[in-house]
């Protein structure tokens, strides 16, 4: 039975309390921004692991999986939280395997030299007689320490994400270029400010659906010395022919290299593709999600229609206003993903995913 199909288990009440508090913090906006959410989720999971009595891999992974499931159900839009749960599960597996190999020697059935953790032709072909997988059942008392170290590494990585992505700005933004960006994104802002330190370029900012945030970002960037031209979404296709590059921040990266981004981004990338303008997506690795874009309704959320049409407008009583929050951008519209590990093309995202998460955990 695959782990994802295992029945839901009961969690300790103190764990439940922590989860409830965490969820309500996010819902009330006390924790904002994917970075913060990722770090807080990690802390939550670390706490739960520390307090868990039975330190076997099986037990721990069961607990973490259950927490991940609860988070998915409570915050379906916060893909980052689910990603962190998957990271921890993967950490558990890795640590367990390492410990097993150290202690058990050749009992591991996967053999040496197999890459990745999921199914592969290699594994298929090289599978030993008998069990093909190490089970997580062996009770290894020293799992917590290495696990905590692993989680600390993950935390350090998340905290350094923004800096490492911004440091790549120099390589991608050149003098006298015209960069187009869409909407407000703190990561993009940092990136552009970092680029400004090295070179003079001009920025076109498309307003996007969140007008006030975009305007504030424009004000801040212009104060930082970047010549900013603010344009309406309607003019994006008009100016696209002059743009050298498009730089966008994303909400999540989906399997296959698709993007989940603010509403309006898909229109922008369609225009960029038409004029063959490269699109650079800035995505720290914790935003990589193994979900597929097959079900548009599961990934989409509707937003308040106020920016489109004020409630006070007479028309608002007679018509239906469509106002999605996110857009799914297909992989062929994106030229480059800039992650904290460097750049990669959309076709390589599967590899990054397989390094981050175990395929059995794709479905929590």
């Amino acid at each position: 039975m695959a782990p994802s199909e295992s029945p839901p288990r009961e969690l300790d009440s103190k764990h439940e309390d922590k989860i409830v508090k965490f969820v309500s913090d996010i819902r009330n906006g006390k924790i904002e921004g994917s970075n913060n959410i990722a770090l807080t989720t990690l802390s939550l999971l670390e706490q739960i692991i520390t307090e868990c009595e039975n330190a076997t891999a099986l037990e721990l992974s069961g607990v973490v999986r259950e927490v991940g499931r609860r988070l998915c159900r409570a915050l379906p839009q916060e893909l980052v939280a689910a990603n962190m749960a998957r990271r921890v599960l993967r950490a558990i597996r890795d640590e367990h395997r390492l410990l097993c190999e150290q202690s058990g020697g050749a009992t591991s059935g996967t053999g040496t030299g197999t890459e990745g953790s999921g199914d592969s032709l290699q594994r298929l072909v090289l599978a030993a007689h008998g069990g093909r997988r190490t089970t997580l059942g062996a009770a290894l008392p020293h799992l917590r320490e290495p696990l905590r170290d692993h989680i600390a590494e993950v935390r350090a990585e998340i905290e350094s994400c923004t800096a490492s992505i911004s440091s790549q700005a120099r390589a991608h933004v050149h003098a006298a270029e015209l960069i187009l960006t869409h909407g407000a994104s703190s990561l993009t802002e940092r990136f552009l400010k970092a680029a400004r330190r090295h070179t003079h370029y001009r920025l076109l900012l498309g307003e996007g659906p969140r007008v006030q945030e975009s305007h504030a970002m424009a004000a801040r960037l212009s104060a930082a010395g970047v010549p900013v031209t603010l344009i309406n979404d309607a003019s994006i296709a008009a100016v696209m022919s002059r743009v050298n590059k498009v730089v966008i921040g994303v909400r999540a990266v989906l399997a296959g290299g698709a993007l989940l981004a603010r509403a309006g981004t898909h229109g922008l990338t369609i225009a960029a593709k038409h004029y063959s303008v490269p699109v650079i997506a800035l995505c720290p690795l914790y935003k990589l999600s193994p979900l597929h874009a097959c079900d548009r309704y599961a990934l989409s959320a509707l937003d308040c229609p106020r920016p489109s049409m004020l409630y006070e407008c007479g028309e608002s009583s007679r018509v239906h206003v469509e106002c999605p929050r996110y857009d799914v951008v297909p992989p062929d519209h994106v030229t480059l993903f800039l992650t904290n590990l460097g750049g990669s093309s959309p076709s390589y995202i599967y590899r990054l995913l397989s390094e981050l998460y175990d395929p059995k955990d794709h479905q929590l």
């Binding site: 996007g208 007008v211 104060a223 031209t229 003019s235 309006g264 229109g267 369609i270 007679r318 206003v321």
Partner: protein, 690 residues
Amino acid sequence: MVSTEIHTESTDLVYTSSKKRRIRRKRLQAAKNLIKNTGNTNKISIEAGSDLLPNTDVNGLVANTKPIIIDLSKSNSLKTQVVTSKQFINLEMSSHDEKKSRDEVLAAREAKKLAKLKGKNKAGAPIEVKKDLHTESIVEAEKKNCKSDLEPKVSKEPSKSKDEVDRALAKPIEIESVGDKTKEEIKADRAAKKAAKQAKKKKDEDNVVGSAVINKPFSDVNKVSDKNKASDINKAPDMTVKDVVDTLKDIAAVAREVQDVTAKVQAISMGQKKTPTEESKSKAELRAERRAKQEAQRAAKQASVQQVPKIEKSESSEPPKEVKLLKAKSVEIAKPKSPSVNRVNWFEHLHVEHDKDYLTNIPINSNLHPAIVKLGVQLATRVVSGSNARCIALLDALKKMIRDYSLPARTEFSRGLEAALTASLQHLWRLRQPCAAQENAVKFLRRHISQLPNNVDEFDAKKTLQEEIDRYIREQIEMAGEAISLAVRNKISNGDNILTYGSSSLVERILREAWEAGVRFRAVIVGTRTRHAPRHMMRRLAACGVPCAYADLTALTYVMHTIDKVILGASALLGNGCVLGAAGTAQTALVSRAHNVPALVACETHKFSARVHTDAFVYNEIGDPDELIDKNDSNSPLKDWRSNPNLTPLNLTYDVTPPSLITAVVTELAILPCTSAPVVLRFKLSEYGV
């Protein structure tokens, strides 16, 4: 003194200065009473010399005021005291009304005097009288010159801050109310003018003399103008905004009062005077007028020269609502280079096109029909927007202009009209660039004007032209719209989801008529935050019963997967097959192509243009950048964008959609592929010559 030179020829009387003073004082007293007792206009008018009022013209507000003025200003003493001030004329900015400028010149002189007198606490009564006289002169001026309602305000304060004039513009009610009156007055004036010409040959009266005595009634206005005489046009911060506003209000109020006055005066004087002389101009007066006119034009040139650098250099900004901004503009003049450097470089060639400065400095040019000026304001402030609407409004205004056009002597009708047309159009295009529909309409009209036979009777010519215009509107816009509506209706099936972007009047018509014909579809209107017109269009459609949904442009990709067809409107169809439409049309076409949804463009053939644009930069209009700033948010982070050299909101009006993204263009001739635009142009040229 120039005035004395002018007038002494025609005057028989010679007054001593003391007598002049006495007369003047009397008149001022009378005027003061007139102002104070608004209800007792009769008395005042009688005081003012009703016995001299002729009563011939029924419409003769105009006619009657003139004699009043004439009589009041009989005294030479006043004349002599009115010193022609060249400076004042300069400030008057190309007065279209030679009389008025002269009046004002003289009035200014008087005002100066009054100022001195006031200083000695003497000018109480005289000022009032002058007020009255002056308002009458204003009215006269208005009527005589058939100029726009703006003129008096503008002419009175040529050098005032542009704010005030803009405020005046911003109060359309005020404007229109005065304007309406002036139109009737204009008609009256025309008749009066004709009679005057006839009378001129009869007798020389020193009528005009009196007009010279009209003084500016408002002391503060005079003070201002005095001040402004001395100062440069562009430095007008001495007077406060409030003063000028009050001034304007007063002028308008008094003008209205004077209207009443003159009406009553006329009624009274109906029985009194029988001589048909409404007005007579002496040769000397004409010469004086001409001279004043020249001086005024010289002044205007000077002024415009000074204005032009300011216009070109300043970024298109809303007519400053605060004096502060005006000061900022003065600062900008000093550093002409800096604003444009920080602004959007690649739109520099378009920067000049959008400026509201011209709107505030409408030259007091001769012969601009009020309908034209009104249309200019409407176009510049985007009250009238939309290709068809602008075209119809233009043709309407031209029709009125043609109807009211009076042919000068020894001029061929078509030549004269052509010249007048050019002048009007120049004025209009400076306020807003013409759209293709307007250009084609003008071409059409010019062609018909040039085709008029040489010795055509004026009345016939006018009738022909007006009929042609009506026919153009009927055929090219109305009937074409009907044909297109029918053609597109065949393409809409029951149960379709139709998407449209923006607020095209033609698309609205198509959808409405399709619904009324029984096709059951759903409409999705896509608009942007800054434009309200799509929402209004949606309201009208919803009122007809069409089930509507609204989406912002950012939601376009989300809704597109449910859409069956996209119908777009266009401002023009270019010679290379591209579609020039409202900004956002290209985005809609791109997204619909990405989802394989057919995109139709509905465009009448009169919008086809021979221009070719490859992208949205070759030709565009830069809209008001402040539209991008969120008005509802008082703490908008961008509200001080002007002070930030790195920040520019850019508000484009048009964009260009390449033909590969459009499935078909629906015209009244046929449903065509986009690339067949030059075919239609060729066809139209052969058929209609346009």
